[in-house]
Amino acid sequence: MKILILGAGQVGSTVAQHLAREEANEVTVVDIDAERLQEMQDRLDIRTIRGPASHPDVLARAGADDAEMIIALTDSDETNMVACQVAYTLHHTPTKIARIRATEYVQVKDLFVQDAIPVDVVISPEKLVMDYIRRLIQYPGALQVLDFADGRVRLVAVRAYYGGPLVGQELRNIREHLPNLDARVAAIYRQGEAIIPEGDTVIDADDEVFFIAAREDIRQVMSELRKLDRPARRVIIAGGGNIGERLAAALEETHNVKLIERDKGRARKLSERLDKTIVLHGDAADEELLRDENIEHVDVFCGVTNAEEANILSSMLAKHLGARKTMALINRPSYVDLVQSGAIDIAISPQQITIGSLLTHIRRGDVVAVHSLRRGAAEAIEAVAHGDERTSEVVGKKIEDIALPPGTTIGAVVRDKQVIMGHRDIVIEAEDHVILFLVDRKYVPDVERLFQVDVTFI
């Protein structure tokens, strides 16, 4: 696919890196910063064009007339919108994705439609990150919580601990332990190595277990793998930027939320906009401030400022002072490896979260959701099966008979809002949403092929 990426910022460059890794994609990146482009060009097999991303001549030079997708990720919402408009008007680009930060735009109905502002998909990394953190707070103990089928099914990563009833047991006993509900283990990571779960696989302490279950069953499954933490009540958010503000607004009704903001004016503004949140003006790494706010009784500390180093340090300090769980927003993958599950509990990578929502539109076949996992090495995909026995390689087949590529498991099937776990004898029907877990991203094309309907099918 020929893809145009506008903006070589953090999200833009991560997206370019992900997409260029896949052989089928031809990526062109546009930005005004020549140095940043040069650096990217040295590292990745892409073409770069320098210039203002929304200008028609720049888009034309970047090959917009035969691009199949344009992803506008510049800092400015307005540039992104205009670029999509220009690409649509002059080049009829089929798929246009734009990052829109300001909620003011997104809230309005009928704005992002073909005859107004032709943006097919609006993504807001801030909102995605906020949702992600909210789900993590909802399930204390989870390392990752990802939605499928509109949240009916969730993929959850947890670290198994001694004392969890299932730890030390074979997977096939899961049914005896949990007679009333159904869950499937999609993958287990032991010391960074993926293990494909079979019936006789034993869960060890310290394993990172990815399981799939219906939303309402998740807490119970988690309790089998580790002592369940009590639900989070008290939350401190460090950083009152876009993410911090949204997160506070989303949590303040149900949780006791405090927000620390450095900038006096910004803190004042936040306090006007947020009703129940206590907005504190100060430095998140100020030990006195944290002690005054009873950091030792805080359930979750979220470092979400713009500066990742500050996030890491303030989270480490909070942990040291007794906060039960700490999360930090970290952009650099190398930092994630340094601090994840050691100094801090959960590292949140905005690019990783954003990339999944973009990959959804790049995958061939009818793919509803893609989540990129483990720094992009693994992927979870929700795909829709179409066709019939003759034209599809999955419809009408039992799960055990489907020729899945190595390292791939079918976790669950969603049929008309009903969640069915991916046991061997389930027969896939047309229009089923199938949720797959791929340990190795390189088999994604094989999965895409599985779900593509034979061309003779009309």
Partner: protein
């Protein structure tokens, strides 16, 4: 630096290059010229050499850094020059020394076209074919070809591509994927070669000569299958065909790519480099033709006209075909033509020399300086076709030019120290460094009479010219080898 990565890529490239020995084997059997054994042996020598280099490093899949890329390209061209010499050494006709064989192979691969062979008319066809083929492979760049067909080079391919493609601005890609860019360039190259061969054949060459000369015309090489070069055919039609294809091959291939992709031709004249190239060619051709007519070198006006155009284009694009003995032309013509080869043709074409775009940037730098003296307070950016040229590019052009001149002078002095006269030394170094081919004085027809030291200096000059100096020079600096 990752020695293993370099080793792996080098081994792969050598094995790939060994395949180029196969067509000459076919030619040899077809004409039954008795040289097949040399090529069969050469094939096995090169393929096993590549295999031995590749084998211990075959599992190393790390990515190449920019530094590794330089070393791979420089090492590959050097090793290739030697590997390419193997058939010349093994064959009984011609029976030449190692130095001569290396000279011939490097001259072929770098599209220089200087030869140490005499009596080409009586050589085995397979040897003749092999020489032409070397020029063709070297023209667009054998590494560019490898990038197009070997997907395993991956991202590292870009580092190699940058080190081999010519011109000051190597970042302008015609497609997002480097492999696609390389493929695009080679398709155009192949297409031009086929068209050129057909044209030659229709103009009366036999197919063997048509293909061979098409190789060295589109590759801007200059090797011929006859001692008398293109002059052997004594045909105005053939000379004019050669002129057309040399001019086309001297244009930036990215422009040709746009022509093929978008089916239009208007963009040529929007390209500032092409406009300068056209202007230079027009002036040069007119000067040569008018001077030839004026001095009555040829009896017939048509002769002066065709020979003038042919020789001007052949030398200025650095091809080096001859239809007349231009070194015996009167007045300033011989030196003018050798000087024109310094300019060469466009960047990212198959020609040698400094390249039109660099010359144009240097000229506009000069104009800028004058303007600054007239208007001391003026802000005068360097522009090309309405776009501002980054200072980094200007710096590199200046550096290129000064190093080019310095190396030229040094090598010319070495050649004179070995006992050559000034005209011979000057033109031999120019012919080698600009990848031109024929020189003046003793080297007007061929380079056989030179001493071995001179030949090795010229081999080095040819490699410098083809790899645009810095790729080769950088690996000779201590800083490159420091960790």
């Amino acid at each position: 630096m990752h020695v293993k990565v370099i080793q792996r890529v080098l081994g792969l490239l050598l094995m790939a290059f060994s395949l180029s020995m196969l067509p000459p084997i076919g030619v040899s059997f077809w004409y039954d010229d008795g040289s097949a054994l040399a090529f069969i042996a050469a094939f096995f020598i090169v393929v096993s050499l590549g295999f031995v280099v590749w084998l211990p490093a075959r599992h190393d899949h790390r990515e190449m850094r920019a530094r590794d890329g330089f070393l791979v390209v420089a090492a590959f061209w050097t090793v290739l020059g030697m590997a390419g010499a193997v058939p010349f050494m093994l064959s009984e006709n011609p029976d030449i020394s190692f130095t001569d064989a290396a000279f011939e192979a490097v001259s072929g691969l770098t599209t220089t076209g200087s030869t140490i062979l005499v009596g080409l008319d009586g050589m085995p066809e397979s040897i003749l074919y092999y020489r032409q083929q070397l020029q063709w492979l070297g023209g667009m760049g054998i590494i560019v070809l490898a990038i197009a067909v070997l997907p395993m080079l991956g991202v590292g391919g870009m580092q190699l591509f940058r080190a081999e493609i010519t011109g000051p601005m190597k970042e302008t890609r015609i497609t997002p994927r480097i492999a696609e860019t390389a493929k695009g360039l080679w398709y155009i190259y192949l297409g031009l070669t086929i068209a050129c061969a057909m044209a030659y054949w229709l103009a009366g060459m036999r197919p063997f000569d048509a293909i061979g000369h098409a190789y060295s015309t589109v590759g801007i090489g200059g090797f011929s299958t006859y001692d008398a070069s293109i002059g052997h055919f004594d045909s105005h039609a053939i000379e004019l065909i050669a002129v057309v294809f040399m001019l086309i091959a001297g244009i930036n291939f990215a422009l040709h790519f746009v022509t093929v992709r978008r089916q239009m031709v208007g963009h040529y004249f929007q390209d500032p480099e092409f406009r300068t190239y056209a202007l230079i060619q027009t002036i040069l051709i007119s000067a040569v033709v008018v001077y030839l007519l004026f001095t009555r070198v040829y009896d017939s006006g048509t002769d002066a006209f065709v020979k003038g155009i042919f020789q001007a284009v052949s030398i200025s694009t650095t091809t080096g075909f001859a239809s007349a003995n231009f070194s015996a032309w009167p007045g300033f013509l011989p030196v003018l033509l050798v000087f024109s080869s310094f300019i060469g043709a466009c960047a990212a074409s198959t020609s040698g020399g400094i390249k039109v775009i660099r010359m144009r940037l240097l000229a506009s730098q000069g104009a800028r300086e004058i303007n600054r003296l007239v208007h001391p307070n003026a802000e005068i950016p360097a522009k090309l076709g309405g776009r501002i040229i980054p200072q980094r590019v200007l710096d590199s052009v200046w550096a290129f030019f000064s190093v080019y001149v310095a190396l030229f002078v040094t090598m010319m002095l070495i050649l004179m120290a070995t006992g050559l006269d000034q005209v011979t030394a000057f033109s031999a170094v120019a012919a080698a460094l600009n990848n031109l081919g024929p020189g003046l004085g003793e080297v007007a027809a061929n380079f056989q009479g030179l001493n071995d030291l001179s030949k090795w200096v010229l081999i080095f000059a040819m490699l410098l010219g083809r790899l645009e100096i810095f790729t080769l020079l950088v690996i000779l600096t201590p800083a490159f080898w420091q960790r």
